[in-house]
Symmetry: C2
Subunit: 278 residues, 2 copies
């Protein structure tokens, strides 16, 4: 995957600390204005952040079915009418053409363009899907005292890998479940499983704990997305399903056109995180 | 709505008591063989019963979106691939062309034919949706000691009405939320709300408690579906969302073709009822 566009902010740019307790609308405005171009971890704490997947209408039923059949990686938060850039259930005042810091245009599953906005390429047949993200749980993690690297270290971010677990196919979509790795201090393994299992809309419980090779990951240093996480003694490798499963399916299924958010640069919704089962 | 086909069973017909503790597969087999043609209340206790809605593929995305936007009346349990009559998530050994006691064919939302089987009219572009049903909670109700009429009286069945509550439109679908009425002894009002609110896939908590006129129902004797329920002193009128919202939307939206189960004659799935939120 190509390197991201420059994360240098426009004049009046903000700090992560300033946006931690900002409202979702304020975060979206900062992104729209170019005052925030980095990843969205710890922003608007307590609100659902979402993966964005935009497909032409002719793929909309198949992709919605794919989400329904694979709720662990792709828990559905919202879907738009064809041509409507407003996610009316999750953020009725937002605009999906402008409110994400960086978009990727995929052709046959390959990134062909990085974009700051979709204004010039949005079409009447585009349908946008929002699916849950583990960054939605940053507040819950902080309140539970989970010292996870991505929460305490500005540079850290979960590593993500294509696993050998296959999604349930639906229509034209198939592909691997992409997983995100968090190295977890051993005393936190049980509480973190208990905690995340109560938030199905943010991927729920881990899909795997322990040997990465058991889910087809031979070398942890070869990340597919994100940053490598150092596994220190006394830590357990825990893997959660990840929304990057959508662009991975575009690649596996050679979908002619899909637009997604750049990894880590999520869409911030108005929906408060609450416990959920699916 | 037209009267149902004769409920007289074929040779070897069964009693409700025999099917109460039968497996879902046994109930479906009895229906397929014509040995059970009545409603499915108290059958295969503890398993999800489902509303069946079949539409041509060109309406599949819109209807799936309609379910997603209206999870109270239409909580989605399963959806099939176009042309595939097997609900692979909820009942992989079943056949939706034969395993419902009676089907209704709707043209522009009007019932034009009642059918024992879809064998002769199933097409490659048919997509079937299964949505949750309040009969799925019969076991939970019995175990909680809820003396509801439809559980104790063979002849009783919840009355159903078009309410003045509008569904969130999606694509070509719009229409009223259909509600089912249960007259509840006053001491059970709170426990029944607490109980049902924990089962979102079976319509969850009531959408209204009290004066029927507040949701547009002027005369309880004029039922749209089901049987009139007598409201005795010391009872409260409680209304839950109902899956008949789907054919009501076909009528309101004048959908050219939709096939549904006949009211009360649900599809019995293999999925065990568990607590859920949406």
């Amino acid at each position: 995957m190509q390197p991201s566009l420059s994360a240098v902010e426009a004049p009046g740019s903000l700090t992560r600390g300033q946006l931690e307790h900002a409202s979702p609308a304020e975060v979206r405005q900062a992104i729209r204005d170019g005052r925030w171009r980095s990843n969205t971890k710890r922003l608007a704490l307590g609100y659902h952040q979402a993966n964005v997947t935009i497909v032409p209408e002719r793929y909309a039923f198949d992709f919605m079915h794919f989400c329904f059949a694979n709720p662990r990686p792709l828990p559905l938060l919202d879907v738009t009418e064809p041509g409507d850039p407003v996610p009316r259930k999750c953020a009725p005042g937002a605009d999906l053409r402008t409110d994400v810091a960086e978009y990727l245009l995929l052709r046959d599953g390959e990134v062909v363009e990085q974009l700051r906005s979709l204004d010039k390429m949005w079409r009447k047949d585009h349908v946008a899907f929002l699916t849950g993200c583990n960054l939605s749980l940053d507040r819950v993690m902080l309140e539970a005292g989970m010292p996870l690297p991505h929460l305490s270290n500005e540079e850290a971010f979960p590593a993500q890998y294509r696993s050998s677990i296959e999604c349930t196919p639906a229509g034209v979509f198939r592909g691997p479940v992409v997983v995100s790795l968090r190295p977890v201090p051993d005393p936190l393994v049980v509480p973190l499983i208990e905690l995340t299992s109560r938030y199905a809309l943010s991927h729920g419980a881990p899909v795997h704990v322990g040997d990465p090779a058991a889910i087809g990951i031979r070398d942890l240093s070869k990340v597919d997305w994100g940053l490598e996480n150092l596994i220190r003694p006394g830590h357990t490798t825990m893997f959660w399903a990840c929304g990057i499963t959508a662009p991975a399916a575009a690649a596996a299924s050679r979908i002619p056109e899909m637009i997604v958010h750049a990894p880590g640069r999520m869409f911030v919704t108005d929906r408060v995180v609450k416990e959920s089962t699916l």
